[in-house]
């Protein structure tokens, strides 16, 4: 196999990893701080994508569309938190899972009513649709590079927020000691709403950035959500670091598996057998990886401290 192909797949893996990180970061924050399992997190991915497309069509600018979609998803998250999820913090995981499952059904159907069941397709604006040349033999689509760069930037900003700011301090303190934070005069309910909104906006950003290159359709966030679960199971729950590591591992393994497993198998077994076994195995790869990690380290690779 040639070097260009490997490079391209590595970048593709990075792009998937970034998307998964944006999803997993919100999930893991919300779980770590509010102890809430939110299945409807994938819905915010979908909402972000739909809103970005809609705003893009109104304004004629993709950047504006994505930038408008962010606060809108944040708001949507905050509204959902206040109306439905706030009461679930004290409930057990089963209640949380079922109620948020109900929310998914609602959101998927709502988008189908508003935008229809047929996928929306959007074109990239001209200035983003080109490729970047690396040397003479290798080039990579500009927009995908932008996604990777934005994702890395957001990861850095998130790390800064959690470790260096007052909000982050409150968030970390709130996770371990609610009454203490409340005693400091901080409105903990508002804090939770804000954190939930930020988590939703992160998922929304992932969806918004995916909108121009994938079909935007009802339920599009759900498979991403499940992959984000795999990320968290591998990385360890409640830690941003774990989410980042898990996302990159899953992104790379999944992408490289789909690209190279079939040809690799073909060198071991007959080509027709590899033809059918390759894709099947590739689609199972990250889940098998998860199983192995869990057998070796049931708490994931980077479990949050004290949890």
């Amino acid at each position: 196999m040639n070097l260009q192909l490997v490079l391209e797949q590595l970048l593709n893996g990075g792009q998937l990893g970034v998307t998964l990180f944006l999803m997993a970061a919100g999930l893991t924050l919300i779980f770590g701080i509010m102890n809430l399992v939110n299945l409807a997190h994938g819905s915010f991915y979908m909402v972000g994508a739909y809103l970005a497309v809609t705003f893009y069509r109104w304004t004629g600018s993709l950047v504006l569309g994505v930038l408008l979609a962010l606060p809108a998803t944040l708001l949507a998250g905050a509204v959902v938190e206040v109306i439905a999820l706030r009461t679930l913090y004290e409930r057990d995981h089963l209640d949380q899972v079922l109620a948020t499952f109900g929310l998914i059904l609602f959101f998927n159907e709502l988008t189908a009513i508003i935008w229809g069941r047929v996928g929306l397709f959007t074109n990239l604006p001209g200035w983003l649709s080109g490729s970047v040349d690396f040397g003479a033999t290798f080039s990579y689509p500009l927009y995908r590079l932008v996604i990777i760069v934005v994702g890395i930037g957001v990861a850095g900003a998130l790390w800064y927020m959690v470790t260096r700011t007052r909000l982050g301090m409150l968030v970390r303190a709130g996770a371990s000691n609610r009454t203490m934070v409340a005693a400091l005069g901080v409105n903990i309910r508002l804090l939770y709403t804000l954190v939930f909104g930020i988590g939703a906006a992160l998922a929304g950003l992932a969806g918004a950035m995916a909108a121009p290159i994938y079909a935007v359709q009802p339920g599009m966030g759900d498979p991403v959500l499940i992959q984000a679960f795999v990320v968290i199971a591998i990385g360890g729950i409640g830690s941003i670091r774990g989410a980042l590591a898990g996302a990159l591992i899953v992104g790379m393994v999944d992408t490289l598996g789909r690209a190279f497993l079939k040809p690799a198998l073909a060198t071991l077994i007959s080509a027709p057998a590899a033809q059918s076994a390759g894709p099947a195995l590739a689609s199972m790869l990250v889940y098998l990886l998860m199983a192995v990690v869990l057998v070796l380290r049931p708490e994931g690779l980077f479990p949050a401290r004290g949890r």
Binding site: F31, V37, V97, L98, L103, L105, L110, M284
Partner: protein, 314 residues
């Protein structure tokens, strides 16, 4: 009369279900036989989930996997010309138990949120596997070449005969699970759910018991899968779609956990409601979703909580 009310509800339910085929014939509505057969098949799946969820405290968000594996086992055998129902169904149950053993071995080592995520993830893996199995229809699915054959004893092509077979199996499954949870084995998984540190301190290692319950549960659900594929006669990976796991979970909670009879009720109410809503509007899920949220928020004990007093032994 510890289980008095519950037993009466169950008996009433069985009589009601038994009366459906003649009643439907009388009304000229054969569709109801079909609908309620489907209800009973899902009731079997829900009862199997109740064994590990209600009694064992294991929140499996992946029970559709066993439904799917049961269906695939029957279809694959049929594709290769094995139509013997006993063989097919035994294979369905066996394959589901094997799969449950593998998934359970990994996931039962974890608990709480991990368990939920992992069972969900593994089922998604099987869903993708189903999609990539082009030989067996891949994404689009395939027709079941022929329904399971029972040597002329029962004809599954006959809607009514099939209906009563499913009803009989449902009764057997409910009684079997009832028996199981009252046995020494059942007491251990219930104890481990109720208070794990205490259970370990008196000398039980919960893991093997939980795993065994998980495997039994998977096997029963695999049987439901074998029934379901004979019911629809069409194999599709959608059998293993993750929302189906959510549906089964909801049936158990809606009917009332740890009651064995509740899940039957839950399956009945949910599927009949779905059917009514979808006849009314294409966008029925916009009603079902919030309904689900409301049940969780305000009717935590399910329908069982209304119909029979809370069993003290949860």
């Amino acid at each position: 009369m510890r289980h008095g009310r519950r037993a009466i509800v169950f008996l009433g339910l069985v009589l009601l279900l038994a009366a459906v085929p003649p009643a439907a014939a009388l009304l000229g509505q054969p569709f109801y036989v079909d609908l309620l057969r489907r209800v009973m098949i899902f009731a079997i799946a829900a009862v199997s989930l109740d064994l590990i969820l209600g009694y064992g405290g294991m929140v499996s968000f992946g029970h559709a996997a066993y439904l799917g594996v049961g269906a695939y086992a029957v279809t694959i055998l049929a594709v290769y010309g094995v139509h013997n129902g006993v063989l097919q169904w035994a294979a369905a149950v066996g394959a589901s138990m094997l799969l449950a053993a593998a998934i359970g071995a990994v996931s039962i080592r974890t608990s709480g949120i991990y368990f939920i995520m992992i069972t969900l993830a593994f089922t998604q893996m099987l869903y993708y596997l189903g999609i990539s199995l082009d030989v067996y229809g891949g994404d689009n699915g395939m027709r079941l070449p022929m329904r399971s054959q029972f040597g002329g004893l029962i004809d599954l092509g006959n809607g009514t005969e099939f209906y009563y077979l499913v009803l009989g199996l449902l009764v057997l499954v409910v009684l079997f699970v009832r028996r199981l949870v009252d046995s020494r084995f059942g007491m251990v998984i219930r104890a481990a759910k109720s208070n794990e540190p205490r259970t370990r301190a008196i000398g039980f290692s919960p893991y093997p018991y939980r795993l065994a319950a998980f495997v039994i549960s998977g096997g029963i659900c695999g049987l439901a899968g074998a029934l379901l594929i004979n019911h629809t006669a069409y194999l599709t990976p959608d059998l293993m779609h993750w929302t189906r796991s959510g549906d089964i979970l909801f049936m158990v909670v809606l009917g009332g956990m740890a009651s064995t009879v509740g899940p039957v009720l839950g399956a009945l109410v949910l599927l009949v409601l779905e059917n009514a809503l979808s006849n009314w509007t294409e966008h029925w899920q916009i009603i079902l979703g919030p309904f689900l949220v409301l049940v969780v928020l305000f009717a935590r004990r399910g329908l069982g909580g209304l119909l029979w007093r809370e069993e003290r032994d949860g």
